[in-house]
């Protein structure tokens, strides 16, 4: 049954807003990236690809931010995926206790990034923080650290916070994926005397690939979107050691008023995300499975 012409009216309100506040800004980022606009004055000059050349060759902070973002992403993707997968396997059965634990692990997901930032700032506090206090009590003073103040480890402290924040959410995706695997496959494996590891490798893992794709893809994108958490915890400091691309864009635009340059970094950011998303789907989707 064909829809009447009126159906196009349904697109109007949403599409107007989407165009003004999403499509137009996205396109104009490209435009401003070729200018030296400061965001305030009405005049600006076109500077060609100067901004891009500066980002690529002459901005050590930007290079550092990209590096930090990749370290942060790798840490979060590896640990969040492993943790959520292990807990999903352990908590797979729908017993009351397991359901409670899944709900508990999920809990941090509903908090705001600012709340999570405060909680972990306190835990990591060098003098009264829970972590150092605990290490002191257990006789592990040697491991005590200024977790957010030490430039070498601050980004990993934040990455762990991010893992704590979202592991419960990924756990639920894995549990759903595990429940979708037909039980008879495991029974056959049992009859044929397969070991636990063999069963995992030959049945669980391949059939869990679609869930793993979702988890890894989502976690990666989340790592690039961790602006709120990092901004509220360290604002990119100390000395840019926790600067990620998003916090750097904010700094360049709203602290240094260099809108043109910030726009070019945004465009580069977009390209990086596109490449990573493409690679991920290529790698993870390559091993298709069927029942």
């Amino acid at each position: 049954m064909r829809a009447s012409k009126n159906i196009y009216l349904f697109l109007v309100p949403g599409f107007i807003l989407y165009s003004i506040f999403f499509l137009y800004p996205t396109v104009s980022a490209f435009f401003y990236s070729f200018t030296d606009w400061d965001g305030i004055s009405s005049e600006f000059d076109f500077v060609g690809v100067d901004n891009y050349i500066r980002a690529a060759t002459n901005d050590s902070i930007f290079a550092q931010a990209v590096g930090n973002n990749l370290s942060f992403m790798l840490f979060v993707v590896i640990f969040q995926t492993i943790f959520s997968l292990i807990f999903a396997i352990i908590l797979i059965k729908n017993t009351k206790f397991n359901i409670f634990l899944r709900a508990l692990f999920f809990f941090p997901t509903i908090l705001s990034s600012v709340s999570v930032a405060f909680i972990w700032s306190f835990i990591y506090d060098p003098s009264m923080g829970l972590l150092n206090t605990f290490l002191g009590i257990s006789g592990l003073e040697a491991l005590q650290q200024n977790w957010l103040g030490n430039q070498n480890i601050a980004i990993y402290s934040l990455a762990f916070t991010q893992v704590w924040f979202h592991t419960g959410q990924m756990l639920i995706i894995f549990v759903a994926g595990l429940h979708a695997i037909p039980n008879d496959l495991y029974e056959v494996a049992k009859i044929e005397g397969a070991s636990k590891w063999q069963t995992f490798k030959k049945i669980t893992w391949p059939l869990l690939a679609p869930s793993a794709t979702i988890v890894v893809a989502y976690t990666t994108i989340q790592s690039f979107k961790a602006f709120d958490l990092i901004f509220a915890t360290t604002r990119g400091g100390p000395n840019h050691s926790t600067e990620i691309i998003a916090t750097y864009i904010y700094e360049v635009a709203f602290r240094s008023y260099n809108f043109g340059y910030a726009s070019s970094i945004s465009v580069i950011f977009m390209v990086i995300i596109a490449i990573i998303t493409y690679l991920q789907f290529k790698v993870l989707r390559s091993d298709k499975v069927s029942y």
Partner: protein
């Protein structure tokens, strides 16, 4: 088996301890916290910090701002996204495909990529320091995910439904409101929860567009307490408790729906 129990127990403590710490610290004084960060509050259940924060901050105002922005953003995102999803489902020509692709594209681009040009647009429209500005931006930013989830659901509705109601002479609007919306309620409520959590907790857009205290939302106000109270964690955690309370209460009562909604958002978004 022992390893399994142990791993789960450790992680459970990793969630329970920080939560307990927030609750207890919000009932302590600064000196109590400094002397014994792990101890119980000296005076038992003590709500002095809560009274203090409501007295010295316009806490109620922030709370109202957050509620208005969240409620309006969620309602309008849902309504507009449902209309678009319905149109995409009904349109079998190339226009439907193009519209769907345009919105899918929006899901791929993280909102933070747009913060600079988006700020320009909001500034030029005179919408900085206004709740309306926040609401309009929120709607536009979360619409792609909502369209994606709802389209996925509506495409599974049997085609005969549309045909039957067309024969009845029902217009598109009537078909939408009296057939499609009621049938899409499960998907709509899951999307609503996902949007609620996102908008209630959002920091970036208030940070970009709001400088006037009268229009600040809770996460932004909370962030600025940090400048004011520095490491006065009892006060900061009192703020955390107040800002998180609505979501935590909702989570306790609607747990199943939360998990479903947030997961749908993750899977699709």
């Amino acid at each position: 088996m022992i390893f399994r129990r142990f791993a789960v127990l450790i992680y459970a403590l990793l969630v329970i301890i920080p939560i307990t710490m927030v609750i207890l610290t919000s009932m302590k004084t600064m000196s109590e916290t400094f002397e014994n960060p792990l101890g119980l509050p000296g005076e038992g259940v003590n709500i002095a910090n809560y009274i203090d924060i409501f007295r010295s901050e316009t806490m109620l105002g922030y709370f109202i701002n957050s509620s208005v922005v969240t409620l309006a953003s969620v309602s309008f995102t849902l309504m507009f996204a449902a209309m678009i999803a319905f149109a995409i489902t009904r349109l079998t020509n190339w226009i439907g495909t193009i519209v769907f692709l345009l919105f899918t594209l929006g899901m791929m681009v993280p909102a933070q990529v747009n913060m600079v040009p988006l700020y320009n647009v909001v500034l030029q429209l005179g919408l900085t320091n206004s709740l309306l500005g926040l609401i309009l931006v929120n709607i536009s930013v979360t619409m792609p995910v909502a369209v994606f989830i709802l389209t996925g659901f509506m495409k599974t509705l049997p085609k005969e439904l549309f045909e039957a109601s067309t024969i009845d002479g029902a217009g598109e609007w009537k078909m939408f409101t009296s057939v499609v919306i009621p049938l899409s309620l499960p998907s709509l409520s899951a999307t609503a929860i996902f949007l609620f959590v996102m908008h209630w907790n959002d920091l970036l857009y208030p940070l970009l567009f709001i400088t006037d205290n009268n229009y600040k939302t809770l996460p932004l106000a909370l962030l600025e307490f940090q400048g004011q109270y520095a490491t006065n964690y009892p006060m900061l955690f009192t703020g955390v408790m107040i800002a998180s309370a609505p979501m935590v209460l909702a989570y306790i009562f609607l747990q199943r729906y939360f998990v479903a909604g947030m997961t749908a958002g993750a899977v699709k978004g």
